[in-house]
Symmetry: D2
Subunit: 153 residues, 4 copies
């Protein structure tokens, strides 16, 4: 079972990083992905900046990281809740996981060299999952957080 | 006065499209920008896709478009409300315009060849502006909408 | 069919106003309820005030009105989409209609003698409905708006 | 200084519970209020129910509790950040504290005999504060959480 979970997570990570073209363009990195913890990271570079004066991370990148970490957290939650599902069934679930809505709270200007998004399951049910995600920089400063609602059924 | 407004909008459009590197990478287009109306557009291409199965626009691109159209609408609202401000003062306002929070409602899968985001001022004050933005595809299908709160003071 | 719809709306209105004790305590009024339009109203009185200095409507009453109008709009949307459902089936749907999340934007201080909340269907599907609702006072001033997501499946 | 803070919190608690008529009608209780922690409570009773079938807390009461706990947390945050402010200045701040927007996530049906709302400062600045609040029942079940943005300047 544990072996199967790991295999599924590895498959999901591969789809997330390699098959979703926008993630490749952004050069997202899954620096950790287990059933318990997601760490989605990105290194700062000029193309990701949103404000030429302040040289900070663009809010759209922030939103993408928060949604990405939350979605991967939701998937891990489904795997946790449904150990009976086969890899094929989970792949279908993953492909149908849809964001219903997302709120992003921008707390501080996105200064830093590397940003890490993490997620936490708040609600998980047969139909809807709610995930809270956070974005920090390499110094642990809290840049933004997200509240994401997914249709999982 | 009108001439000054147009000049300021042109300057803001130039900063938005040329100086914000993330917008250049995405290849955003301001197909219309006046004090009354903002139309921020993007042409679909593989790098913008979020779901390899469904070939739809990535939710992070959707969020970026909704935030971008809303921010440009907020700026037009400031110009409308403060005809006395000089170009330099407005440039400072633009540079300090900060997103406090944003909600995105994803209504339909982002299918289409071209996506257009528009904005509407809901609240405009000395400190806070609230803008509602919408994303449609080239057939007029409503893909998503945003509710964005900005610090404008 | 039309006659059945009217009967169901009347039944739903009765439950909403008479069986939900909190609505009775607040003295909510459905000044209009048809498949096309919901108008949920309340008359100002001291118990509904939120700020002793400014004598304005309490934000919790605002939230209740926005959620109430949105929920009744979602129900009307279900009836519109499913003319084949019997009264009993719709009653079950009504009883299971659950708010997933709600965002309230407070635009202006809630001054006025009477407040009217209306709703508009933004998304309606088999599983999730998104409704936007607005609160105005008797002079048509826009006090607040809501964005409400419901589980309808 | 500490003595002054306690005096101001006591004054704020008195306004919150006694001078805001809607809170009196709901019979809100501040079971704890210090600079570090807010616990806003309510005992279940029929008038607070939102669903006659399920006998659960009305979502509007939930929203009121989440907003109330968040607002009192924001005020405590202002006092923490500005030990130099006099009682009169803080009273003015309190009176001007305005909710910009609020998101409520409804996680579980509101079953229970007593509900307790708590708050946590996420962002606190000169202009805007963001507070996250949570509602639990007497068994510690997490019923809902709120994300509230306040204008504090």
């Amino acid at each position: 079972m544990a072996a199967q979970s790991e295999q599924i997570l590895a498959m999901a990570a591969n789809i997330f990083l390699e098959k979703i073209a926008f993630h490749k363009m952004l050069q997202l990195q899954l620096q950790h992905y287990s059933l318990d913890r997601v760490e989605l990271a990105i290194d700062m570079r000029p193309e990701l900046m949103g404000n030429p004066h302040h040289q900070i991370l663009h809010g759209g990148v922030t939103a993408t990281l928060l949604d990405g970490a939350a979605g991967m957290t939701a998937l891990a939650g489904i795997i946790n809740n449904h150990p009976e599902l086969s890899a094929a069934e989970l792949a279908t679930r993953l492909s149908n996981l849809g964001t219903i809505d997302m709120r992003v709270d921008y707390l501080r200007p996105g200064r830093g060299n590397r940003f890490i998004a993490t997620g936490q399951v708040i609600r998980t049910g047969n139909k809807v999952a709610v995930i809270r995600s956070e974005l920090h920089n390499e110094d642990g400063e809290h840049i933004a957080f997200g509240t994401c609602t997914y249709l999982v059924g």
